[in-house]
């Protein structure tokens, strides 16, 4: 079974995770149109990257978040904008007014997480990535490590360092939305 060849398998995967992906995006952008685009882009990237997913080796969600992170990264957004111009699946065109309202509500609900993310902006990229997935997206350390393609012990060390840094700097409460460490 391959996600990118079997529409039924893909549909099952999509239904399992579309909510998590919408949340993931809503935690990171505040523009509902962009959020719709990124959601579509993430699932397109899932199709593109389906060959890197080995069922049973690491959790599905970890793999998906690894893909999602890349899509949402600033560097990718630029490329995606160009790709959209050539007319692949464009998320924002699939939204009607009701969807727009719902998307705004989602984004609003994640406001606290977005400010927590902003508080992490100063951290070194490697540390921030781990903390983000654990504290914000509620992955386990093992899943975060898998999503980032790093070893668990590395993830643990980075997480520890990141928390320590934030502690000494500002300690925004949201960062302690206790990730399962």
């Amino acid at each position: 079974m391959r996600l990118n060849e079997d529409p039924a398998a893909f549909e099952a995967f999509y239904r399992r995770h579309v909510d998590a992906v919408l949340k993931f995006v809503a935690r990171r952008v505040s523009d509902p149109h962009l959020a719709a685009d990124l959601t579509a882009d993430i699932f397109l990237a899932v199709l593109d990257s389906a060959h890197t997913y080995v069922p049973g080796r690491g959790s599905e969600i970890a793999w998906l978040y690894g893909v999602a992170r890349n899509v949402v990264s600033a560097q990718h957004r630029k490329a995606a904008r160009e790709a959209r111009a050539t007319g692949r699946v464009a998320g924002r065109r699939l939204m009607d007014d009701d969807d727009l309202v719902r998307m705004e509500e989602r984004i609003d609900a994640e406001r606290r997480m977005r400010s927590a993310l902003e508080a992490m902006a100063e951290l070194p990229e490697g540390e921030r990535a781990v903390l983000e997935l654990v504290a914000i997206d509620q992955l386990t350390v093992a899943e975060a490590a898998a999503a980032l393609g790093i070893r668990q012990v590395t993830a643990r060390v980075r997480l520890h360092r990141a928390r320590k840094t934030l502690e000494t700097v500002a300690s925004p409460a949201a960062v302690y939305v206790e990730g399962q460490a």
């Binding site: 060849e5 990257s49 060959h51 890197t52 490329a79 009607d96």
Partner: protein
């Protein structure tokens, strides 16, 4: 019920169907350099203008089944030759029609899952500007050969792995190349499995995210004309 999530799902499933069909159409084209060839095919199909209006000669060969023409070879005033294949029967007849239109061709139709081992000879000189466009019709295929694309001494080599559902059904796979000089006989081989997605690559999720190049690849889809 229709909302963003459902509409997105439909759009994505459509994308899967498109990509799968596209992979089938291009996957067997010179497997050793699939990447570049694939791009060429896909990129140029965007320019597929269809059969030129000013056709001077049209040859239609009737296939016994239901009276539908098995194939049509049309030479336009601009020198291009349009080929439409509705049923994968009578390869020799198609070769003859193509020869009449000035294109030397070797055509092989094989059962589903089988294809000729590629390449069949030295690559044609026009490879750099190979602009044969390929359109997947409802069931058959059509393509257009621009003037000079298959010059004297070169041969258009077409191999089709037919559908097990019938000669007039959408083919399982096909390969199209232009060979300079002698063309090797068809050495039957299994249609290579698309390596996951025809792109290869492995490793961490990051490395899998090659959607930038994919974006270009899948942009003007080969199958846009199909439903």
């Amino acid at each position: 019920m229709s909302n963003f999530e459902e509409r997105l799902l439909s759009a994505l499933k459509e994308e899967i169907t498109t990509r799968t069909a596209e992979d089938r159409m291009t996957t067997t084209v010179t497997p050793d350099q699939r990447g570049s060839r694939r791009r060429r095919f896909v990129g140029l199909s965007a320019a597929a203008a269809g059969v030129a209006a000013a056709a001077t000669a049209a040859v239609v060969v009737l296939n016994g089944v239901a009276g539908a023409p098995a194939y049509a070879v049309t030479k336009s005033t601009d020198g291009s030759v349009s080929v439409q294949i509705n049923a994968f029967t009578d390869p020799e007849g198609l070769e003859a029609e193509l020869a009449d239109a000035g294109v030397k061709a070797v055509v092989d139709y094989l059962p589903e899952g089988q294809i000729c081992k590629s390449p069949r000879g030295q690559q044609g000189s026009a490879s750099g500007k190979f602009s044969t466009s390929l359109t997947k019709e409802a069931n058959g295929i059509s393509f257009k050969i621009e003037e000079g694309q298959v010059p004297a001494g070169e041969t258009l080599v077409l191999a089709v792995s037919k559908s097990k559902d019938g000669d007039d059904k959408a083919p399982f796979a096909m390969s199209l190349e232009i060979v300079k000089g002698a063309v090797a006989d068809c050495e039957v081989t299994a249609v290579p499995q698309p390596p996951a997605d025809g792109r290869g690559g492995d490793g961490a999720p990051e490395s899998g995210l090659d959607s930038k190049t994919d974006g270009e690849d899948t942009g003007p889809s080969l199958n846009q004309q199909t439903q």
